[in-house]
Structures are given as structure tokens and as C-alpha cells.
């Protein structure tokens, strides 16, 4: 879905020449599809439906989390999102799990990549005035084609999460690895899309837990 959102946005910033090429391509494709009678029309309608459905889904929080009611409280989980990137190390993907009536702590798991197998010591998520920092626990490291894939977990105060997803902030993630720091900066457009969703999810959790 994110891929579709990105592709729609990138097409809106195309140059005139690219736009003309796209339009001419669509015209010729539509002409061919028209000749292919109902199959072509069905396919065109399908593409239109993809655009409508993916846009509508982007404004709804339901596709971004799952919840399950259990005997000792509901468990919530946000699907992994890639909002941060480092120019050399690449993307950082994270997901959050929260279980009601525990200690008020949420579990934030994240994946990052590195040329080296040196484990991360601690992490610091900063967004506006909200700071979530602490030592991380390693889940696994595994070699990839180039470098290593790292997976870590750490616990955060769940009350901070709604404040963390501040649409107007420019958050950063700092990883501390063997005495060195690696700063991941937010992908601004991705953050503006996701931050209101993240905030609404954790606002919903807070309201439900308080009942």
C-alpha cells in the first residue's frame, strides 16, 4: 500500500516531458485495451479501483494494527513501518506491541542493517519533546548479501507513544554502537502520513484501557 502511495506521489512531481510520455503511453494503452473489448475495460476499471481503495485505506487506522482480546487484557500490535533512514546504513523498520494491564510498558522492536556484526548497545527515539531511550536486547543478527541484518527490542513507556507520533515534529533515531552513534532521520512525507495514524492507535489504546 505504501508503495502505491509513493508511486502516486512521485507521478505528481513528474516533469512535463515525463507527463507527456505517461499520457501518450496511457492513451496508446487505453486504445489497445479498448480494442481488447471487455477485458481491457475491466483491467482499466481495476486500476481505478486500486487507486480509490489504496487512497481510502491510507486514512483509516484499521489496516495498520491488529488487536486480540485475551483473558488478561487486549494485546495490540502495529504492523512494521519504515519511517527512518540513514544515508549509509539504510532503513530502520519498527513495530510496537502493547498488552493492557501489564506495567504500562510497550515493546518496540526494530530492524536495521550494518556492514558489521557489532551489536547495538542502546537506542534513542526523539520526537519534539518526547524522548524514548534505553538499552536494547538483541533478538537476532543474520548475514545478508551485503552486511548484516540486526533485530532488537526495547521497552518504552506507552504514555509517551502518542506524543512521539507528533505530525509537526522531525523525529530522529540514534543508535549507539560500540562507542559510536548512528543517526537515522525521518522520511518527512512518510512521517506526515503515518504520525496521525500512530497517534490515533495509541489514543484508542489509552481510552480502551481506562474504561
Amino acid at each position: 500500500m505504501w508503495g502505491f502511495t509513493r508511486s502516486i506521489r512521485s507521478s505528481s512531481t513528474a516533469t512535463d516531458r515525463e507527463r507527456r510520455e505517461i499520457e501518450s503511453g496511457l492513451h496508446s494503452w487505453a486504445a489497445a485495451a479498448g480494442r481488447a473489448s471487455w477485458i481491457g475495460r475491466l483491467f482499466l476499471a481495476g486500476f481505478f479501483a486500486v487507486g480509490v481503495v489504496s487512497t481510502a485505506a491510507g486514512q483509516n487506522i484499521r489496516p495498520h494494527y491488529v488487536s486480540k482480546a485475551e483473558a488478561d487484557g487486549t494485546i495490540y500490535h502495529t504492523f512494521p513501518v519504515t519511517l527512518f533512514e540513514h544515508p549509509e546504513a539504510g532503513d530502520l523498520t519498527f513495530d510496537i506491541t502493547y498488552k493492557e494491564h501489564r506495567t504500562g510498558r510497550a515493546t518496540l522492536n526494530f530492524t536495521c542493517y550494518s556492514d558489521e556484526s557489532v551489536p547495538v548497545d542502546s537506542v534513542r527515539f526523539v520526537s519534539g519533546r518526547t524522548v524514548m531511550a534505553g538499552p536494547v536486547a538483541k533478538i537476532y543478527l543474520e548475514p545478508e548479501k551485503r552486511g548484516w541484518k540486526h533485530r532488537y527490542t526495547f521497552e518504552v513507556d506507552a504514555l509517551l507513544l502518542c506524543g512521539f507520533f507528533d505530525e509537526t515534529a522531525l523525529p530522529e533515531v540514534t543508535l549507539h554502537v560500540g562507542g559510536q552513534s548512528r543517526v537515522y532521520r525521518v522520511k518527512r512525507s512518510a512521517w506526515r502520513s503515518y504520525a496521525p495514524i500512530g497517534c490515533r492507535i495509541f489514543e484508542m489504546i489509552r481510552v480502551n484501557e481506562a474504561r
Binding site: 502505491f4 479501483a49 486480540k68 527490542t153
Partner: protein, 102 residues
């Protein structure tokens, strides 16, 4: 040639809709969650996911095994497993495994 290509793409899209793993499949849009397995282990405090993606019914990539989803969250005792299928006209399909456990 263009007619042939349009036909191939339409057939591929329709074929991939039929291949989406779901108890109910929508021809234009599918967003379905379903249960896959339940164990005798009690409770869950961790959730792990893994997914595969398919494009135009021609290319499919990923690892949506239960083992991978459990490993993503450090789960060693699985409580139950759900899955979610999303499909947009069969052009773009996502299959996600969701593992709950401790």
C-alpha cells in the same frame, strides 16, 4: 501486440485473485483476516509478523513462515496464528502471517 499484452495482464490479474489464500476472495478488493492455528500454550505478550508480496500475479517474493514471524518478535512458545490477505484487483497482493505467543 498491445492487445495480446492487455490480455496477458488481465488473465494474470484474474489468476492471481484466484490464488490469494483467503476463505473469501473479492475480485476487485480483498482484505480478510482469518485464524490459522491454535496451540495449548497459555496467553501471549508478543506478536510477530512476516509477509509475502505478489505483483500482477507474475512475481511473488517473501517469507511468510510461522517460524520467521515468531523469530521477528523473539517468540518461543506460540499461542495462536492468524493471517491476513489483501489484494487489489490481483495486481498487488499481500499475505501476512501474525503469530501470538511468549
Amino acid at each position: 501486440m498491445k492487445k495480446l499484452l492487455a490480455g496477458i495482464f488481465a488473465c494474470a490479474a484474474l489468476l492471481s485473485v484466484g490464488c490469494a489464500k483467503s476463505p473469501v476472495v473479492g475480485g476487485i478488493y480483498t482484505d480478510v483476516k482469518d485464524g490459522l492455528a491454535v496451540t495449548g500454550n497459555a496467553g501471549s505478550s508478543k506478536v510477530g509478523t512476516a509477509e509475502v508480496k505478489g505483483y500482477v500475479g507474475l512475481v511473488a517474493l517473501g517469507d511468510a513462515s510461522i517460524q520467521t514471524a515468531a523469530r521477528e518478535a523473539g517468540i518461543t512458545r506460540i499461542h495462536h496464528v492468524d493471517y491476513q490477505t489483501k489484494s487489489y484487483v490481483g495486481v498487488y497482493t499481500i499475505y501476512t502471517i501474525i503469530v501470538y505467543g511468549d
